[in-house]
Amino acid sequence: MVNYAYLIPLFPLAAFVVNVFWGRRLKSKSAPVAILAMLGSLVISCLILKEVISGKTLEQSIEWFKVGRYSFEAGFLVDSLSAMMLCVVTLVGLLVEVYSIGYMHGDARYHLFFAYLSLFIFSMLGLVLSNNLIQTYIFWELVGVCSYLLISFWFEKKSAADAGKKAFITNRIGDAGFFLGLSTLFYYLGTANFAQISQRLAHHPEGLSQGVLALSAVLIFCGAVGKSAQFPLHVWLPDAMEGPTPVSALIHAATMVAAGVYLVARSYAVFAAGHLSLEVVSYIGIITSFMAGSIALVQTDIKRILAYSTVSQLGYMMIALGTGGYSAGVFHLMTHAFFKALLFLCAGSVIHACGVQDIRQMGGLFGKMKVTATTCLIGCLAISGVPPLSGFWSKDEILVSVYNSGNMVLYGLTLTVAFMTAFYMFRLLFLTFFGKPREKLHIHKPAPTMDWPLIILAIFSIFSGFVGSPLMGHAFSNFIYFHPEHIEPNYMVMVSSIIVGLAGITLAWVFYILSPGIPAALARNFSPVYNLLLNKYWIDEIYDRFIIRPFLRLTKFAFSFDRYLIDGAVNLTGTSCVAVSRVKGWIDKYIVDGLVNLIALMVGALGEVFRRLQTGLIQNYILLIFTGVIAIVILLRFV
């Protein structure tokens, strides 16, 4: 079965092709096409996972092309990491597509949406299966393109189109770093294959200093920063909420942002070999995590809260990876994929039901949307780290790994972020589903196709954590490991995490159910902090002020330079050319042509004269002959 791994991305690709070319005719049938393809991929992925668990791995590649002494290969790698990712991606992708049937119902470009979704999932699957960095990069870019297409899916809205552009450009900045990193690595190691990279790094190759290694690791991490929305390139993710909610779910849970974490995990050997690089990863992670978490505290748009939550959680994964918790990071990536997809789809249901996105306008929706509210509660509990839900186990492992790294400041901040997470998630939950309805909203019930994915994801959110829990002997960590880790359950950390999570939930309950006046009073009293958070640390403004505007000025200057100097020169050349050719044309027309015509005319006139001699009358000729005779005689005789 492992041999057929290449089929997994081909199913969505086929669905994409079908939907792009025949989608218009398929109309509403385009969804089943995509879903069936995804189902096929999911089944194969699960079978492969089963085989991989029983100990099989496979790497197959063919030589793609050769440049000089470097050969480039194309192939796929099935090991525990990719098998796990395949299952997560296909499962979440499938559920999101099922959910989209209801959510996108009646959209003008219904078939195109499913085509893009299929392409998106295809790119992600390709990325996961790649066995070398170059192929990864190709699919990496494809993922970027798809995110652009999907975020600006409703491109009639200017904000959506802008968000798509922002996501794409921001990603490109990171991608440039990624490309430089992989080029550096390729130059020094002569291979882009992951397995070979690890192998060669293990032998400490000559000429590859620690500095270069760290540099290439950090450059590759740049790509991950862009894709996984880490500080300072996190700005695109909240704006990406302009896309349809299922897309957000997909981006946040399984495909786009997971790609960054996956890349770091995949090329973990490089990071592990460079000393500084892991620290960079963890610091970037904690900055992102803390910042995004604090911003999420005060946001009011339901999707934006979730977006910042995602950024924060991704930061968490980076912290885990940065502090050596390889399996913890990947574990959290998996559990997060489930509960974040769940939360986003819940938010989508809510938005679909009431047509607004501001949580201040909602409230008391519990009675009207029981399934959504219940599943959302499960998602919130999971992300807050309440045992025994999945988030608790993965978060616990991260905390353990941070704790084991010995950096207590980092540990404190991580705990703070956990606290903030619990608080803002329950703030969202309470404001949306509990209390009294603040505004009269017309609610229409979500379709069953939108409820079932929620239920399935909720089940996964509850139970997927057990695979990595100490109760099952850290099965996950033993399955996915970079180098054998021995994880001791740290009960102090576990208890502190539970306490922090519950404290956050309680505080949210106090603030938003018990006495709703407190938040407003706090906002008044600490208005500078509140404003800072509300405006997302003014990072967008800072970028605008210090990067975008100067850049625009530069481009304007370049434009005017182009316009007046270069265009002027070009135009001058053109004009003078035209003038010269005018003169040449005149000379040609009147002098050269005139000469030619004159000669022709002369010849013609001469012919006109002499053709009269050619009368065809024999007697004329005789007469002329004798005239000649007479003339000769006269000349000879009398002259």
């Binding site: 050619q614 065809g616 024999i618 007697q619 005789i622 004798f626």
Partner: protein
């Protein structure tokens, strides 16, 4: 006794008359007749010169006999051609036979 020059003058006048005929006649037969006049003028020349310049030789007279023979032959062929042309073009006027003219 008639001097040689008078024969020659007669011959010259006859030749010129024949020439005029060749110039002006439209009919091919007319041109043929004018040619006969010219030939006769030449013959007179031959005989006169033979008599006055080489009295012991018969060459002049014999040459005239040959000339008459050739003239007869040419006339016969010419007339045959004229008759053939007349069959084809229904004319014997040389200025109307102009198929070769551009």
């Amino acid at each position: 006794m008639i001097p040689l020059s008078h024969y020659l003058i007669l011959s010259a006048i006859l030749f010129s008359i024949g020439l005029y005929g060749v110039f002006t006649r439209r009919s091919a037969i007319g041109i043929l007749l004018s040619l006969e006049i010219m030939l006769n003028a030449v013959n007179i020349n031959f005989v006169a010169f033979a008599k006055f310049m080489a009295p012991h030789s018969l060459a002049g007279q014999i040459f005239v006999i040959f000339t008459i023979g050739v003239a007869a032959a040419s006339t016969v062929v010419g007339l045959a051609i004229i008759v053939a042309i007349y069959h084809n073009y229904k004319t014997i006027f040389v200025d109307e036979i102009d198929v070769m003219k551009w």
